[in-house]
């Protein structure tokens, strides 16, 4: 255990904790109302939204999991860059419509929109339950990130992660979305600082970027070119990028970030401004290569860390080997806080979902607003416990597999939401069957891979196409939804059941 690292880390963490509680009074609202607790009162402007959405989307996935994949598997891990390129045209085109219709009808969650659009309580339930399910492995990934950093500081046992967990739970409970919004400023500031220092300082220690890339084995430097009748790694790379991008903004926490914006214009501007974070993500991915060039894993101090955390230990080991203790403390705090912000937004989003779309319609239709907010606060705690279960019971080598798994599930909500934002042509029951088919195909593929991976090789017209299971599942879902919609709408159309009108999508 290194006293300086731990001291710096604890001081920054204490500061964050105070901020988390003080945040309740920032632009104060009535915390007994769900849209105040769970959406910050829908009043974040371009500047705050940039920090909040950026802090919410770029998570331990970015700081730990992607570099770990680069470190262990090489170029394939860089798929996260095209992934975060293609999400923003999607954000610009689609999500101002969701913002408008949600504002007009007071929707706090995306499944409420589906509920209003299709007036089919079972479809609404399916969309909400999927959001809850998919969020848990994603929160779990954040907990892994915090765990790795705590381990790197030489602290053992479950007590440190438990303390971090309690702090997170407590300020989420009292301050709602305002807490991560406020902490996001510190988080992003720390991350930008660490990344910018590291991309200059570490290559300088190693003789420049050219020398770094020269130390990467050929098999890791580029994707393997396809051989024979197979699209090989190209298929995996492109489908991982496309499938992850198709999924991202449909996650409850991403939607919560978008809906907390003050206007649709804030959403549109941020589609052009948020790519700044993607540059940081790309540079962070290259930390995996810096770690290879630095020789981490072969250094004597690293053995225990890699034994416990596998490749996920690459970034912490690189930081320990490259920086003085005080700066390592800052970097570790950046990673831990970077995981805490999205974990808070995710648990708030999941709580909103449960309360609005499961608790109220199915258990307490006459629930008063204050009781509704109270249920949400309690559920935000329960969801985090669910995430802990994922950490303990699903032993993935790469933490990123947790996010891939969530992506397979959440992308099954895409047809109902995305197509629903443009047209009411599809039938609610057909979408429900399509959803079930997609969930079944995606989950079956992951099970067939023994939960060790999410890239499933399919034989298509004589060509072997290894692809992200989310894409195969989504394709199944779309085909079933469209075909059955034609049939069902001929038999008994449900198209007149819609509480929205076209103008709602533009206001």
């Amino acid at each position: 255990m290194n006293g300086t690292i731990v001291t710096v880390f604890v001081v920054i963490f204490a500061l964050i904790t105070v901020m988390g509680f003080v945040a309740a009074r920032w632009r104060a609202g009535d915390m007994d109302l769900l849209h105040e607790w769970g959406l910050g009162g829908r009043r974040f402007g371009t500047f705050v939204a940039w920090f909040l959405i950026g802090g919410d989307l770029y998570t331990a996935y970015t700081f730990i999991a992607v570099p770990a994949l680069m470190f262990g598997a090489g170029a394939i891990g860089f798929f996260a860059v095209p992934y975060t390129i293609i999400i923003y045209p999607l954000l610009y085109l689609v999500f101002p419509r969701l913002w408008s219709v949600a504002k007009k009808h007071g929707y706090v969650t995306v499944s409420e929109f589906v509920g209003g659009r299709y007036r089919n309580r079972w479809l609404t339930l399916a969309i909400a339950a999927t959001g809850l399910l998919a969020t848990m492995p994603y929160i779990a990934l954040q907990l892994v990130g915090i765990q790795v950093v705590i381990g790197a500081m030489g602290l053992s046992g479950d007590l440190p992660i438990l303390i971090a967990f309690v702090i997170l739970a407590a300020f989420t409970y009292t301050s709602g979305l305002r807490a991560p919004a406020m902490i996001a400023f510190v988080k992003d500031g720390l991350i930008y600082l660490v990344v910018i220092v590291a991309i200059f300082a570490i290559p300088a220690q190693l003789g420049g970027w050219g020398a770094v890339f020269a130390k990467i084995p050929a098999a890791k430097l580029l994707l393997a070119a396809p051989k024979g009748a197979s699209v090989g790694a190209y298929g995996a790379y492109a489908t991982l990028a496309f499938g992850s991008a198709a999924a991202l903004f449909f996650y409850p926490h991403a939607i919560t970030g978008i809906l907390s914006s003050q206007s649709r214009q804030v959403v549109r501007r941020n589609a052009a401004l948020l790519p700044a974070y993607s540059l940081i993500l790309g540079l962070l991915a290259l930390f995996g290569f810096l770690a290879i060039a630095k020789g981490v894993g072969t250094l004597p101090g690293d053995v225990a860390g890699f034994k416990t955390f596998g490749p996920n230990f690459a970034v912490p080991a690189l930081i320990l080997a490259s920086f003085p203790s005080w700066f390592a403390g800052v970097a570790f705090a950046a990673i831990a806080v970077g995981a805490l912000v999205p974990a808070a937004v995710m648990s708030i989003a999941a709580a909103n979902l449960f309360t609005r779309d499961i608790y109220r319609p199915f258990f307490a239709p006459d629930c008063p607003p204050a009781a509704e907010a109270q249920v949400a606060k309690i559920v935000s705690l329960v969801v985090k416990l669910g995430a802990l279960a994922f950490v303990l019971f699903l032993p993935f080598k790469y933490a990123i597999q947790l996010q891939f798994l969530g992506g397979i599930w959440i992308s099954q909500t895409v047809p109902s939401i995305l197509i629903g934002l443009y047209t009411r042509a599809l039938n609610g029951w057909a979408l429900l069957v399509g959803w079930a088919a997609g969930m079944a195909v995606g989950s079956w593929m992951v099970a067939a891979l023994h939960f060790a991976g999410t890239v499933y090789p399919l034989h298509l017209f004589g060509v072997l196409v290894p692809g992200y299971a989310a894409v195969w599942a989504l394709a199944t879902n779309l085909v079933v939804s469209v075909v059955l919609s034609v049939v069902f709408n001929l038999l008994a159309s449900d198209r007149d059941r819609d509480e929205t009108v076209p103008a709602d999508y533009f206001t």
Binding site: P82, R97, G210, F213, L221, A225, A272, P275, G282, P502
Partner: protein, 68 residues
């Protein structure tokens, strides 16, 4: 309904086709899976995709300017 264009809604413009550029290039893996030309020590695979992040942001900013 007159304030909405038939194509999709208010503000829709042909400028949106620009958004296809980063989208298509980002998914065209064989195009960039190569080492040369190297730039500042970065193999093409890496600097091209990082550059594409900027291209994507500029494309969206352009559409935003046109559509207001």
């Amino acid at each position: 309904m007159s304030e909405y264009h038939a194509g999709g809604g208010r503000n829709w413009s042909w400028a949106r086709l620009v958004l296809l550029v980063p989208f298509v290039l980002a998914l065209d893996v064989p195009l960039y899976n190569r080492v040369n030309p190297v730039f500042l020590g970065f193999p093409f695979f890496y600097w091209f995709q990082l550059l594409l992040v900027l291209v994507g942001a500029v494309a969206i900013a352009l559409v935003l300017l046109v559509e207001g």
